[in-house]
């Protein structure tokens, strides 16, 4: 299905929901829940279980869908809610249990003689920790651009920033990741 057809279908579903058809909302959930869950998982540091956040996102969407003006696509709108819910969730978590983010960069490289699969897993876990250690504004642009694969314009609309700001954040995020994962990048080359 083309992007335009998808947007039209989403708008039709929103209209049906506004007229009181609950099944239209169920269809919206079916279509977007996987992407919302994937984004929440990435923004929250790959916890695996993101059921609560997904529920909160769709509760917020259910309440706010009547006010949805269609200025952006439904997918972008849902992603905006997801980003906001994840910010709230991280804020609550940090208040309850402060996390030492600096530890992410100090993890030792795995034992060279170990099993390759285990080594890969450890390497990837280290990469994920490095992403988590990034400040929120850098982590969000990395998750949305590199992991979620959104276009620059869409990320800018979603976060309410300009293209220049996005580029600056991405450059700085890459620099921080290079600083933390320099040895891995050299190995790969």
């Amino acid at each position: 299905m083309s992007a335009m057809a998808k947007v039209c279908e989403d708008l039709a579903l929103v209209e049906r929901f506004r007229r009181g058809e609950d099944s239209a909302f169920d269809r919206i959930v079916e279509q977007h829940a996987a992407e919302v869950a994937a984004l929440a998982n990435r923004l929250l540091g790959w916890p695996g279980d993101v059921d609560d956040i997904v529920q909160d996102v769709f509760v917020a969407a259910f309440v706010g869908l009547k006010k949805f003006r269609g200025e952006s696509s439904l997918r972008t709108w849902l992603f905006t809610i997801t980003v906001n819910q994840c910010r709230r969730c991280r804020f609550r978590r940090r208040r309850l249990r402060p996390v030492a983010l600096e530890e992410a960069g100090t993890v030792e490289s795995p034992d060279r003689g170990g099993d390759k699969a285990a080594m890969d897993q450890e390497t990837f876990a280290r990469v994920r920790r490095a992403v988590q250690a990034l400040p929120q504004k850098y982590r969000e642009v990395v998750a949305l651009t590199y992991l979620q694969g959104l276009e620059a314009g869409e990320v800018c609309r979603l976060l309410g920033i300009t293209t220049n700001v996005l580029q600056v954040r991405l450059t700085r995020a890459r620099k921080r990741l290079r600083d933390r994962l320099g040895d891995l990048l050299e190995e790969k080359s």
């Binding site: 169920d26 829940a33 790959w46 509760v59 992991l147 790969k188």
Partner: protein, 203 residues
């Protein structure tokens, strides 16, 4: 180049983390959740307010005054305060009961709506059954005509289809079949007459 490497590494790390676990939310479930939330946000402040009123009343009652109050007046004031307190508590309880009752009704309504949505449309179901019956009749008549060459039985069956299911698309099929049988009959009769004429001349 470095950017590509970082992107590749991030993508592989993300892939290695696997798919997140989540349950699909439904509109009915979300409606219930919102209602519960609203109930809690209403009930908690009401209870707190009732507690504050109760506490304040008790404090006022127990507060030592400068001059001693005459005993009957004090009793009357205490009784009045207790009555007010009772009225407030009753009002709060009534409100809570009303909210709970509304919630129960809405949940029942949602479950009934879901049940109703799962039942297929009875009119469409009847139409489907009618269509099926007409099709079976036409199918059997076709078999009788083609395999057993029982044109009388087939014609009867086609006429029944036209009579009992006139609006069904199979009625149109039955009409076409009847027309074809009629043409076949005329053709056979003419051939028979020709053959008879031929025999009469030769003999």
């Amino acid at each position: 180049m470095n950017q590509e490497k970082i992107e590749r590494l991030l993508a592989r790390a993300d892939e290695a983390a696997g798919e997140p676990a989540f349950a699909l939310a439904t509109a009915a479930g979300i409606r219930r959740r919102i209602h519960r939330k609203r109930l809690v946000t209403m009930a908690v402040p009401t209870t707190v307010a009732a507690g504050i009123v109760l506490g304040a009343t008790l404090w006022v009652v127990c507060l030592p005054t400068g001059r001693p109050q005459p005993q009957p007046q004090r009793i009357a004031s205490l009784e009045e305060q207790v009555r007010q307190l009772q009225a407030q508590t009753e009002a709060t309880l009534k409100l809570l009961q009303e909210v709970l009752e509304t919630d129960r009704r809405e949940r029942r309504l949602a479950s009934l709506e879901a049940e109703f949505a799962s039942i297929p449309d009875p009119i469409r179901e009847i139409e489907r059954q009618v269509d099926k019956a007409a099709f079976i009749l036409v199918y059997q008549a076709d078999k009788v005509y083609q395999e057993l060459n029982e044109s009388e039985s087939a014609v009867r069956a086609y006429r029944e289809v036209i009579q009992f299911f006139p609006t069904s698309p199979w009625a149109q099929v039955a009409r076409e079949r009847l027309a074809r049988i009629e043409q076949q009959r005329i053709h056979d009769t003419k051939r028979q007459e020709g053959a008879n004429l031929w025999d009469a001349r030769n003999t």
